[in-house]
Subunit: 331 residues, 2 copies
């Protein structure tokens, strides 16, 4: 396996990306190809023990920044780490591409460089969401690639999500839910009402419409929605978790007895943090493009990058592309 | 002030509603009119000290249940506490109506019984959302009345929300944000892109588009969105908070040392719970109908009902209806 990594993508690149690559190469016995500015990458590599690791560098002189307008950036920066990395994946002998950079940029560059899987109408951005089931996570898509969608797109998102949950997250017969404002079929917006019959008629394990509270509760394994709602949802829950942790921290630190209590409960607090930590699952796939592409959080540190590379390896190993190609004919 | 209360609405009615009414009548020096089945209401009233309180009962033989289809229920149950209570508000000398019942039912009954404020295209359901600003809350609408909306509706939601935040929540010059997938104007769906120019051209304190994470962060005081996205958002955040608390509880209770720690930190944990507790703000107004209507959470206990009645009193006292009527001519 050889994973291509956008060494320049993310708030803390290339320090976090290079460190994550070294870590993943050793832990998962992978070849990793770092794409970006060679001098910066080499400076970072020198900080780690890389003996025995198969790490290569492919030069790319430009960087697409986190706040750049994606389509213009991809068009104008042909020698960016993102564009070059995705060209490698398309043309060379590589298995997957990982980036913690501008997610709109990865989407645009992947559409441009790899194109869609034949038959897929729209690609979808996805995320892995913690819950309290024995699998510990559900899979939510689209979280931002398509802000205005059609029922047929949602049906395809459901298929791709179901295959990903089964093949890569190892959840057998994933329960697919359509995000709505209530379980009843007369609830939801027009899009939901037109999509429900398509999902019911499919061979997917469609359990019906689910509400916002049902995702953390683990009612479904795969939750399908448009990219506008999905994006607002994921960022909202992330923001709420941050608020809860901040209030807790402040309320504790203002009370001496509570500070002692928190010290005694440190292991429990750490366990909570780990359970909710986006870094544990590293990144979500961009599904529907013609290659395995994993997008990690822009704030990824080395550990998150390491885990995103692990996810890329698992997705490639379990032949998710092939599964989607075959699945399309059965839907 | 005389507040009409749907004594039969909510999971724990009439015990919670009657207890909440007694509590509010005493704490806020209000007259309260309980609408519902007299024998059940009297049985509950007998459990409390009501001496010196101005509590009246108006009989209504039917109950609209939490899971009933709203429009059919309102049509068929003309003698339900919801329909009768709203008729009282319209025809009698009352100031506001409060219900913890089926929110779709309250919406349908209010549209039927009160109608819209002249000039308002659609009413909006709203909720008060905790944040970390000095006001402690922001105001989010629509959270479920209209799943498919037009830009003009969102402009009116922004106006109504801004007036409510200013008059009832006492936030001067409320910052109004439009919920989107990014701050940039080219982000968001078609609806957002068509609504942004309307908000920019209005006299409202429009601060631009905000993301899901910006609501808990307190970036805006009033957040406007369609009822589909708003509903999914609010339920999602509620579900995430429940998940976080459940995991924390479990991780603590499985460790003896952490259990001792939690005991020492009990005051801090309680302060967190209070800060996040929906019961503190009781309920959100149904804005745009021709009367002050407050909808409380279906799970409301007596304390939540008490606070919803307080909110109703404040909304009526601060003449929110009149403010919306005048505001419409200035938008």
């Amino acid at each position: 396996m050889n994973i291509v990594l956008d060494a320049m993508g993310g708030d803390d690149a290339p320090a976090a990306t290079v460190h994550g690559a070294v870590w993943a190469a050793r832990d998962f016995n992978l070849s990793i190809t770092l794409v970006g500015q060679p001098d910066l990458i080499e400076t970072e590599l020198a900080k780690h023990n890389t003996s025995g690791l198969d790490l290569a560098i492919i030069p790319a002189s430009q960087v697409i920044k986190m706040d750049e307008s994606p389509s213009a950036a991809v068009k104008n920066k042909k020698d960016s780490s993102m564009v070059v990395g995705l060209r490698c994946l398309k043309e060379g002998d590589y298995d997957a591409f990982v980036s913690a950079g501008n997610s709109g940029g990865v989407l645009a560059a992947a559409m441009f460089g790899l194109g869609r899987i034949k038959g897929i109408k729209r690609p979808a951005l996805s995320t892995v969401f913690p819950n309290d089931t024995k699998y510990g996570h559900s899979f939510l898509l689209d979280v931002g690639a398509n802000t205005d969608v059609r029922p047929e797109y949602l049906l395809q998102f459901a298929l791709m999500g179901s295959l990903y949950a089964e093949r890569v997250m190892h959840i057998p017969h994933p329960r697919v839910g359509l995000l709505s404002t209530g379980e009843e079929e007369d609830k939801g917006n027009q899009l939901v009402q037109e999509t429900t019959p398509l999902l019911k008629a499919s061979h997917l394990n469609f359990i019906g419409n689910v509400e916002g509270k049902d995702i953390p509760a683990g009612v479904a394994d795969v939750i399908v929605t448009d990219g506008f709602t999905g994006n607002v949802y994921v960022k909202g829950v992330e923001g709420a978790a941050v608020l809860i942790m901040e209030i807790l921290k402040r309320e504790i630190s203002s009370r001496p007895l509570a500070r002692l209590g928190a010290l005694l409960a440190m292991d429990a607090l750490k366990a909570l943090r780990t359970k909710l930590d986006y870094r544990e699952f590293g990144g979500g796939p961009l599904l529907g493009v013609n290659g395995v592409v994993i997008i990690a959080h822009g704030r990824s540190d080395a550990y998150a990058v390491r885990n995103a590379i692990r996810v890329a390896k698992e997705a490639a190993q379990n032949r998710i592309l092939h599964a989607i190609q075959s699945g399309l004919s059965e839907i």
